[in-house]
């Protein structure tokens, strides 16, 4: 079959790239997962590269999983998460509470490893054609939904077509716009699906993975009543859901998943979620012993939890950011030297220390950041340099300083970040006036009026995105739905299209370097850090998987006495 031939050839190509020093082994691991190579095939490729076949875990996963005690089956695990902001519906969820709950019940074609690489779930393999605009997915056989109906290609077609229908209101539409159009998803047979893309897109598998959380696979006849009748193929079934109070899930006795020793998953009998809005109250729930785990511990206000000796904290190098966007259509941000001056005014280490206790990874205003996206070219670091910042301002005609307004939502650590920017920019002559508004207000209005897309400069919070390309597609192109900077650089756009159109890793690496360089030089946005996520649990809780708070995989988790 052509796809298998492609996969084989692509595998050889990856090995050559590693042997020639064009790629790291970690990069091979990630790219091989994108092109649907099996775990066995990847192990063989790594062996061919002369490496050990074991993949490195994240530090957190190692901490959580090292010296694991014997598996204990049964029992109930209690977790505390924020309540879903709206009625549970996989098609339209967008918040942590909703995503975590849906993730237990419904599954995706592809899931994420702790390192943000792809791993097969309902799809066992996937591969593009040579051009990269047709992707063929082989589906897992013998899977049934928890209502007994069989999982087939027609369910995948219906699920994907549903989220790209504007009437569904799904956030996945914006991510897939210009890449996959209605009618582009076809069932080849009962267990093969083909995606005919609008254009070649090398990162397409991520767009139908768990990272695109609205693409959960639901029965073909799904009618939007998930909260009452939660049908999915996942390891858990919804037993009860009381709005803003709690959710109880029980194990799906017909779940297809088995562990490496052939034992039925999940190990636990029951999951209970306390739905708590206030982070202080959630922390106290954990510290009092009322719950066993908190999938996301917020650093602000979480000091007592993080220092509690009875708890274990896992740190996940997430790709979430706080985007500081400069609207290039508004004064004084048309001039890139002013944007660069802000970038050189920031002491990123101090910001990381103040906001996250130094736990996050530093960013240098580009998405191609190797500490969080393995294999990306290393960008030049941007240290605080007031001399350079003043010179840039002077060259831009602002020798006596410049007044700017920064809009920020009164949400999470955003106001504190704004204050740090304000304080650090002042010595350079950049006088930042902070316009702090409510979370609702910053997203209010239409595309042409909403502050987050129209303020002169704004801080926007972004959850994890799986690749630099997905980030860029979302906010750095003139066609991006969520571009707060309104940046439109022809060279970047052309290079980006080439980057997403090629499967040749050497070419991709070269193009990535160019994209990173353009983005950093132009500085339409400041990416000062990639936020590490903290997961906190009792010390008798083991083997929770998944990268960060949204992907809370407890199918192989267990608790000792």
């Amino acid at each position: 079959m052509a796809d298998e031939k492609f996969a084989r050839e692509y595998g050889h190509h990856l090995v050559e790239e590693v042997l020639n020093g064009h790629m790291t082994r970690r990069q091979l691991l990630v790219r091989a997962s994108v092109f649907g190579l099996s775990a066995t095939a990847i192990a063989q490729l790594l062996a061919a590269c002369g490496s050990s076949t074991s993949s490195s875990s994240s530090p957190s996963a190692a901490a959580s999983g090292s010296a694991l005690p014997a598996v204990v089956t049964g029992g109930t695990m209690k977790a505390v998460i924020p309540p879903p902001l709206k009625a549970l519906d996989p098609v339209t969820i967008y918040d942590q509470g909703g995503i975590v709950l849906v993730y237990q019940i419904a599954e995706y074609l592809i899931d994420l490893t702790n390192q943000n690489a792809l791993k097969p779930k309902l799809a066992v393999s996937w591969a593009p054609n040579a051009k990269g605009d047709v992707w063929t997915f082989k589906l897992r056989q013998g899977v049934t939904f928890n209502d007994g109906s069989p999982f087939e290609a027609a369910d995948v077609v219906a699920s994907i077509e549903r989220v790209i229908n504007p009437k569904s209101g799904s956030g996945a539409l914006a991510a897939l716009a210009g890449i996959l159009s209605p009618g582009g998803t076809k069932a080849i047979d009962t267990h093969t699906v083909q995606f005919n893309l609008d254009k070649p897109f090398a990162d397409f598998p991520y767009l139908v993975s768990a990272s695109s959380y609205n693409t959960a696979i639901l029965p073909r006849n799904y009618a939007g009543n998930f909260q009452k009748k939660a049908v999915g193929t996942g390891p858990w079934m919804l037993k009860s859901f009381v709005t803003n109070q709690h959710a109880t899930l029980v194990k799906n006795p017909t779940y297809w998943g088995k562990d490496t020793q052939g034992r039925q998953l999940p190990y636990l009998d029951q999951l209970e979620f306390a739905l708590v809005t206030d982070t202080s109250a959630a922390n106290l729930q954990l510290q009092s012993g009322a719950v066993d785990v908190q999938p996301q511990t917020v650093f602000q206000g979480g000091a007592s939890v993080l220092s509690d000796a009875s708890l274990r904290v896992d740190v996940y190098p997430s790709t979430g950011i706080r985007e500081l966007a400069f609207n290039v259509n508004k004064t004084p941000w048309q001039d890139k030297r002013v944007r660069q001056a802000v970038a050189y005014s920031l002491d990123r280490k101090a910001i990381n220390q103040a906001l996250y206790g130094g736990r996050s990874n530093l960013g240098y205003d580009t998405f191609w950041e190797p500490t969080v996206f393995p294999g990306s070219p290393t960008p030049p670091a941007r240290a605080q340099d007031y001399t350079k910042a003043k010179q840039l301002l002077s060259d831009a005609g602002h020798a006596s300083g410049v007044d700017v307004t920064l809009t920020v939502a009164n949400y999470l650590e955003n106001p504190a970040f704004a204050q740090l920017i304000q304080a650090q920019c002042k010595p350079a002559g950049i006088n930042v006036k902070i316009n702090e508004i409510s979370y609702n207000a910053i997203y209010a209005g239409t595309n042409t009026t909403t502050p987050w897309l129209n303020a002169p400069s704004v801080i926007v919070e972004w959850g994890s995105r799986p690749t630099p390309g997905v980030y860029a597609q979302a906010m750095l192109l003139p066609t991006s739905a969520w571009s707060s900077s309104h940046w439109n650089d022809k060279d970047f756009v052309t290079t980006f299209n080439q980057y997403e159109s090629t499967t040749d890793e050497a070419t991709r690496t070269t193009l990535a370097s160019k994209l990173s360089s353009i983005q950093q030089d132009e500085t339409p946005i400041v990416v000062a850090f990639y936020i590490s996520q903290l997961r906190t649990q009792k010390k008798n809780v083991y083997n929770i998987q998944g990268p960060g708070s949204f992907y809370f995989d407890v199918s192989q988790a267990y608790m000792t006495k």
Partner: protein, 315 residues
């Protein structure tokens, strides 16, 4: 008396209409819109517009109000736009929780406050009176989130004597709920104790200075008969009024306590509904709380009238 009650009940109707109009108008000026709240920041504008049209959120304000009011008065409260659940049962469940917490708190607060206040009034200017006055005054200025956090850290996190949450696990017997309500009731008691006890103290001091109390003492009535038969009856008139005004707050205004102790009451629900532009749920919550507020004040007035014949006679 019947006329008083009838007139007050009739006055509730225009008040509720005015409140409903105000809430509708205020919800309009809140930032954001319904479609965006439901679909989130990552939905496209086209998707938001389609949903707003589908929900009728793009129609003029007066038209939406007329439709909503028509349904509401005929008993069709609709479904929450945020939660997808029926408004009536959702509000009633939250109201039940709030009434239970308020009732539990009042059962502790009212007798304690009156006892402390009257006792301080009877021992006017003594060391004990000053101690009670200063301590209750101090407690009223401690915000609930401060006292609540301290109580949780001490009694739930450190000592593990009481649960951190105000709701028992699913399936627990109903009586367990009172055990879970002990901790959240304490910050409320600390707050209310100061107001009610001070009012009871002032009332007691004032009544003790009245000539009829001196007459009662001089004619040789036992002290307990003077206090229970003459002092309390008159001293508690202003106290009852204060209690009546606090009942509404205890039912609909416990947002901080509900947040901190993870309690699904109606105060929390109102805040969420307002933030989400969930007007059907918001209107129902506000109107229910408004009715309770007015009823509690009415009941307080009736009690005052029963205690004071001059008010009763004056109608």
């Amino acid at each position: 008396m019947a006329r008083l009650i009838g007139r007050r009940l009739l006055l509730m109707v225009p008040t509720l209409i005015l409140v409903s109009i105000l809430v509708f108008a205020l919800a309009e000026v809140l930032p954001g819109n319904l479609g965006r709240s439901i679909l989130g920041p990552y939905a496209t504008q086209q998707q938001v517009d389609i949903l707003n049209h589908h929900l009728g959120a793009d129609k003029p304000l007066y038209e939406r109000y007329a439709v909503w009011a028509g349904h509401f008065v005929t008993g069709h409260w609709g479904a929450s736009l945020q939660l997808g659940t029926p408004v009536f049962s959702t509000v009633m469940r939250a109201l039940g929780n709030s009434l239970l917490l308020a009732g539990f708190a009042l059962v502790i607060i009212v007798p304690t406050s009156i006892l402390v206040g009257v006792y301080a009034g009877l021992r006017r200017d003594s060391l004990l009176d000053r101690a009670i006055t200063i301590s209750t005054l101090s407690m009223t200025v401690i915000p609930e989130f401060v006292s609540g956090v301290i109580l949780i850290v001490v009694f739930a996190v450190t000592l593990h004597w009481l649960p951190v949450s105000a709701m028992p696990p699913q399936g627990a017997p109903f009586v367990d709920r009172f055990y879970y309500l002990i901790l959240p009731a304490i910050p409320l008691m600390l707050l209310e104790l100061g107001y009610i006890a001070r009012m009871a103290r002032v009332g007691t001091v004032q009544v003790l200075a009245m000539p009829y109390i001196r007459t009662a003492v001089l004619k040789g009535l036992p002290r307990h008969r003077v206090i229970f038969g003459h002092v309390l009856r008159n001293a508690l008139v202003p106290t009852v009024t204060v209690i009546g005004s606090q009942v509404g707050w205890l039912i609909g205004g416990l947002v901080v306590v509900e947040f901190l102790f993870v309690y699904p009451g109606i105060g929390n629900m109102m805040i969420n509904a307002a933030q989400f532009h969930d007007v059907p749920l918001l209107e129902a919550c506000v109107l229910v709380v408004a009715v309770l507020y007015m009823l509690s004040n009415l009941i307080a007035d009736i009690v005052v009238a029963l205690l004071n014949p001059r008010i009763r006679m004056g109608g």
